[in-house]
C-alpha cells in the first residue's frame, strides 16, 4: 500500500534526535511488547513476519507517526491477535481501562498481479526496471524506486515473496537483487552524482532493460 510507512525520500522531516548510550529498551513494557510479537510469530504461529509488517503499515497515519517504535509493534501484534480471533478488541479495552487503537483492516484485493519468478532471471551487471506497481496490500518496493532503472550488484538467495505471504497467498520463493540506483535518477534534487541507493528487490518486481 502507498502508506505512511514508506518514508524513503519524503520531505519535511527535521533533525534526527540522537541519544548517547541508548538502552535496548527505555521502559519494561517495550520489552514485553517486543517479546509478545516475537512469541506470536515464532511460538504461537499466530502470524508471520510479513503479516506483522503489514499490520503496522495499516495503522492510521497520524497514529503511526505519533507512536514510538514499540507502540507500533504492540499495535500491529494486537491487531493480528484480534483479526485471528484469539482475543477481542473489547476484551483488550476492558483490561487496559481505555481505548486500544488497532490498525485498519486489510484491503479486499491486496496483491498486484505479478507473475511468479521461481528462477533467477537477472545476473550481476544487468540493467533492470522496477515495475510501477501500487498494490493495495503489502509490498516491499519503496515508492522512490518504482519506474526507475538500476544495475544489479548482487544476486541474493531466494526468499518467500512478501506480497503473497502477508495475505495468505500461495507460497512462492524468488531471488532478490541488490539493485543500485544513481541518487540523481531517483530525486532531481539529490546531492551529487557520486551518491547511490541500493534497494533489495524481489525478482517479480523487476523487468529487464535491453542494453
Amino acid at each position: 500500500m502507498d502508506g505512511i510507512h514508506d518514508l524513503g525520500g519524503m520531505a519535511g522531516f527535521g533533525a534526527i534526535s540522537y541519544e548517547e548510550n541508548e538502552p535496548v529498551f527505555h521502559e519494561p513494557w517495550q520489552a514485553t511488547a517486543f517479546a509478545l510479537n516475537i512469541v506470536g510469530i515464532g511460538v504461537l504461529r499466530n502470524h508471520n513476519a510479513d503479516e506483522y509488517r503489514h499490520s503496522i503499515e495499516r495503522m492510521p497515519p497520524v497514529h503511526y507517526l505519533q507512536a514510538c517504535y514499540y507502540e507500533r509493534v504492540l499495535t500491529g501484534a494486537a491487531t493480528l491477535f484480534v483479526e485471528k480471533g484469539v482475543v477481542t478488541k473489547e476484551e483488550l479495552e476492558e483490561r487496559a481501562g481505555g481505548a486500544f487503537p488497532l490498525a485498519s483492516p486489510n484491503a479486499p484485493d491486496p496483491m498486484a498481479e505479478l507473475e511468479p519468478q521461481p528462477v533467477a532471471r537477472f545476473t550481476k551487471g544487468d540493467r533492470v526496471l522496477v515495475k510501477d506497481i501500487h498494490p493495495a496490500g503489502h509490498t516491499r518496493v519503496p515508492r522512490f524506486c518504482r519506474g526507475k532503472t538500476g544495475t544489479v550488484l548482487h544476486v541474493a538467495p531466494a526468499f518467500s515473496f512478501p506480497d503473497a505471504a502477508a495475505h495468505g497467498g500461495a507460497f512462492r520463493k524468488e531471488h532478490t537483487y541488490h539493485v543500485e540506483f544513481a541518487s540523481t535518477d531517483l530525486w532531481a534534487d539529490a546531492g551529487a552524482d557520486n551518491e547511490s541507493v541500493i534497494v533489495d528487490l524481489w525478482d517479480s518486481y523487476l523487468e529487464g532493460v535491453d542494453a
Binding site: L7, A35, L74, R95, A96, A156, H178
Partner: protein, 196 residues
C-alpha cells in the same frame, strides 16, 4: 474516523494483551523472558565489532566475510533470527557505506543488536537515502565531496553490516583493542571507527 480520547497508555495496553493471552494459557512459561534475555544480552553491537576486528587482523577471515558474511559471523557464534542472510559492506577510503530500512526498521540483530531509536525514527528513514551527506554531517560525520556514498536500503531479507576502514596507528593492536574502536554507529555507517 474519530479518534478516541480515552486511549489507554502503551504500558496498560501491553499489559492487557499480555494478560489476555496468558489467561488463555497461550504464553509458555518463560517464553517472554527468554526473548527479552536474548534481545538485551545476546544481540549486541559488540558482536559486530568483534567481526570487524577479526576482519582487520585476519585476511583469510576477511575474505570469507566478504564472500559469505552469514557463515563468517556464525564462526564467531553470531547467528539466528534476523541474521539468516548477512552481507558485509567494506568501506574504502573513496567510498562510504550507510544502512537504512526506510519502510520499517530491519537490522542484523545478532551482530548489530536491536536498532537504536534514531535508526527507527521517521526522520532518519525519510532523509538518509535522499540526502545522505547532509544527514551524516548533522550526525557528526563530515565526508569530503569526492567520497562516494552508497546507501543500502534493507527492503528484503538481506541484513547488512558495514566494515569501516581500520584507523591509522593501530598496527600490532590486538583484536580486543581494535574491537573497542568499532561502535554501533560505525557498523551502521553514520560514523567511522574511532581513531586510535
Amino acid at each position: 474516523m474519530s479518534t478516541p480520547t480515552n486511549i489507554a497508555s502503551p504500558k496498560a495496553r501491553t499489559e492487557a494483551l499480555q494478560s489476555a493471552l496468558a489467561d488463555k494459557g497461550l504464553i509458555p512459561e518463560g517464553a517472554l523472558d527468554a526473548v527479552i534475555h536474548t534481545a538485551t544480552e545476546d544481540w549486541d553491537p559488540e558482536n559486530g565489532a568483534r567481526v570487524v576486528a577479526r576482519a582487520w587482523t585476519d585476511p583469510d577471515f576477511k575474505k570469507r566475510l566478504l564472500a559469505d558474511a552469514t557463515s563468517a559471523c556464525a564462526e564467531l557464534g553470531y547467528e539466528g533470527i534476523q541474521g539468516e542472510y548477512i552481507v558485509a559492506l567494506e568501506d574504502e577510503p573513496e567510498r562510504h557505506n550507510v544502512i537504512v530500512c526506510t519502510q520499517c526498521s530491519c537490522t542484523a540483530w545478532p551482530v548489530l543488536g536491536l536498532p537504536p531509536d534514531w535508526y527507527k525514527s521517521p526522520e532518519y528513514r525519510a532523509r538518509v537515502a535522499r540526502e545522505p551527506r547532509k544527514v551524516l554531517k548533522e550526525m557528526g560525520l563530515d565526508l569530503a565531496r569526492d567520497i562516494a556514498i552508497r546507501v543500502w536500503e534493507t527492503s528484503a531479507e538481506t541484513r547488512y553490516m558495514v566494515i569501516p576502514c581500520r584507523p591509522e596507528g593501530t598496527d600490532g593492536w590486538s583484536e580486543e583493542q581494535l574491537a573497542a574502536l568499532v561502535t554501533r554507529e560505525a557498523l551502521i555507517g553514520i560514523a567511522l571507527a574511532n581513531p586510535a
